[in-house]
C-alpha cells in the first residue's frame, strides 16, 4: 500500500513515518511506498525498504493537492497546519493553509472519486482547540464546538467538511482531536502551553524549567507515542462502526500541574523537582483558564483508541523514546 503524509516534517509526522517503517504494514497490508511532504523537505525515515518520495509542497497553491493524489495513495494522513499562535497573528495565512489547503485536498479527492472511484482513508488531525471556554469537566462527546481562536475555528470547519465528504462517499475520513502532546521533545519553545512539557523534559536532563502557572491548573495530555497510535488506529478502524460522526475526541490523561510534578518526583526524584522554578505569568494564567481540563472520550475509548493512564507512564514513554531508556 501507498501512504501519503502531509505535514511529514513536523514532530508527529516524523514519528508517524518512523512507526510505519518499523511496523512495515498498516492494517495488515504491507507498506510499499511512502510519500512524505511538508513546506520544508521532510527527512526519509530510517530503515524503510519501500519507495520513499520526499517533497516540498504548499498545499494551498493551486493544483498541488491534485498532484499529490495523482498516485492515488491508499491512506492519507493530513497533519499539516499553521499553528495556533501564528494563525491568530496572520489571519489570511491561517485561513489559506488550514482551511483552504484542506478543502483543496478534500476536493481533489472528491473529483478523483468521480473520475475513477478513488476512495482513500483520510486521517485528519484536529485539536481540542475546537472547544472554547466556558468548558465543563469532563467535556462530554456531544459538547458543542465554539472555538475561541481562528486556528480552532479552522479545525472545526475542516471537521465538518470531513464528515460531509465522508457521508457523501468521497473518502473515508476520520478526524482525530489530539490532546496536548506531552512530553513534547526538543527545546523549550514560545508556545503558551509549552510549560506542560518543559517542567518535565528539562529537569529530566538536569536543566532548569520555568512554571508560569499554579499547581492546580488542570489540562489534558497524551504522549507523542499515543498521538501516533491514534493516527494508526484511525487509519485502520472500521468506519462503519464510527458512523456519520467522524470526529473523535481522543482519550488522554487529565492531570493538574501538581500531579505532573508528583509523577516527576516518583520517576526522577527530588533533585529533578527542585529544578522547577516558579515564575507566575499573569497572561499565561489567564489563557490557561480557557483550556480544556479533560474529556470523557467515551466513543473513542469504545472504538479502541488508547492513551496513558498516569503521568508516570507519560514520563517513562519520554525516557524510552527520547532518552535511550535511561535517566
Amino acid at each position: 500500500m501507498h501512504i501519503l503524509i502531509i505535514g511529514a516534517a513536523g514532530m508527529v509526522g516524523r514519528k508517524l513515518a518512523q512507526r510505519l517503517t518499523s511496523d512495515g504494514t498498516l492494517g495488515n497490508q504491507p507498506i510499499e511506498a511512502m510519500t512524505l511532504v511538508d513546506v520544508v523537505t521532510p527527512d526519509a525515515p530510517e530503515g524503510f525498504n519501500g519507495k520513499v518520495t520526499l517533497e516540498t509542497v504548499d498545499l494551498s497553491a493551486p493544483g498541488e493537492a491534485t498532484r499529490l493524489i495523482a498516485g492515488r495513495p491508499d491512506a492519507i494522513f493530513h497533519l499539516a497546519a499553521i499553528v495556533s499562535g501564528e494563525a491568530e497573528l496572520d489571519f489570511d495565512k491561517g485561513y489559506r493553509i488550514n482551511l483552504d489547503g484542506t478543502r483543496y485536498l478534500f476536493d481533489a479527492i472528491r473529483i478523483a472519486n468521480g473520475e475513477d472511484g478513488y476512495k482513500p482513508r483520510v486521517v485528519f488531525t484536529s485539536s481540542i482547540a475546537v472547544f472554547g471556554a466556558p468548558l465543563p469537566y469532563p467535556i462530554p462527546d456531544e459538547f458543542h464546538t465554539t472555538p475561541l481562536t481562528s486556528y480552532g475555528t479552522q479545525k472545526a470547519i475542516c471537521e465538518l467538511l470531513l464528515s460531509d465528504y465522508s457521508r457523501r462517499g468521497f473518502f473515508d475520513g476520520i478526524g482525530i482531536r489530539l490532546p496536548t502532546i506531552c512530553i513534547r521533545p526538543g527545546k523549550p519553545n514560545k508556545a503558551a502551553s509549552g510549560f506542560f512539557s518543559n517542567i518535565l523534559r528539562e529537569p529530566l536532563v538536569g536543566q532548569e524549567a520555568i512554571l508560569p502557572v499554579s499547581e492546580d491548573v488542570r489540562h489534558w495530555h497524551a504522549s507523542p507515542r499515543s498521538a501516533v497510535g491514534f493516527l494508526i488506529h484511525g487509519a485502520t478502524i472500521d468506519v462503519e462502526k464510527v458512523g456519520p460522526r467522524r470526529n473523535l475526541s481522543m482519550p488522554g490523561l487529565s492531570a493538574t500541574v501538581g500531579e505532573q510534578i508528583e509523577a516527576l518526583r516518583r520517576v526522577a526524584g527530588e533533585k529533578a523537582v527542585a529544578l522547577i522554578r516558579r515564575e507566575p505569568d499573569e497572561m499565561i494564567m489567564r489563557m490557561c483558564a480557557g483550556w480544556a481540563p479533560g474529556f470523557e472520550a467515551k466513543r473513542a475509548t469504545e472504538l479502541g483508541f488508547t492513551a496513558e493512564k498516569s503521568f508516570d507512564e507519560i514520563i517513562k514513554v519520554h525516557i524510552e523514546d527520547e532518552l535511550g531508556g535511561k535517566l
Copy 2:
C-alpha cells in the same frame, strides 16, 4: 440607517422588509434606506418612504460582495441560501452559494473594516439542520453540530466563521437557528417537511391536504411572524450580552402532528380536520425520524427572543397575516 437584505425575494426576506417598513425604525434608529437583493429581483415593500434599491445579485460571483457593502449598510440580514434539497442534489452549487458566497460577504466586510473601521451588524439565518440524528429531546444549547446534509454542513461552517469574524472585531454577527417555519404561506411544495404547513394551511381554506406521517411525529415550529421577530431582535440585541457564542437556537414550539391537528380542530372545527387525508409515505417517515424534536433554547429565551406558545397561536397568526383576519 441603511439596511441591506440579501435573499430579500424569499418568504422571510419579503416579510422582513415589510416589517421594517411598518416599524420605520430599527433599534430606535429611523430607516432611511433599504437595499434588497436576491438572485431574482425582489419587490419593493409597500409604503416605504425612504430610498429603496432593488438588485439582482449572485453573491458567489467575484466582486459582488464588495459592491454590495460599498454603501456601508449599518445592518445586513443575510438570508440567501440554496435550500436543503437542492444543496444535496447539486454539491458544487450548494458549497458555492451557501459557503463561498457567505465567506465572500464576510471577507468583504473584513477588508472594509481594515480600510475604514466599518463594523456593521450581520444577522445570519442558520438552521436546525446543523443538528443531526440521533438527537435528544429537548436538544440543549450546548449540543454539538453534526449535520447529516450538505446544507446543514454549510450552515454550521458559516456559524463558525460568523463567530470568529465577530470575535476578531470585523463585524457584530448574530446567527439565528430558525425552527421550521409553520404555517408557511403559499402553495404546497415538494419539500419533505412541507406537510407540517400543508395540513393546516389547506384545510383552513377548505382544501384537502395529505399527511404522510403518523400523528406522533414531533417537530419544532415557529410562525413566519416569529422568524421575522428573531431577525429584528438579532439586529438590535446587545452583543456584549451574547458573548463569543454568537449562534443561537431560537425558541419555538415543540409539537406532535396530533397536537397540530387538535389545534386545527379548536380553531377551525371538525370540517377542517376532515380535509386531512392520511397517505403514509415510508421515505418521508424515515426522514422525519432524524429531524429535531425540540430545543431547550435557554440562552435565546434569556436574551429576549420569543415565539408562539401553542399551535392555536400559530394558526391565529396565519389567519391574521395571510387570510385577512378571518376564516
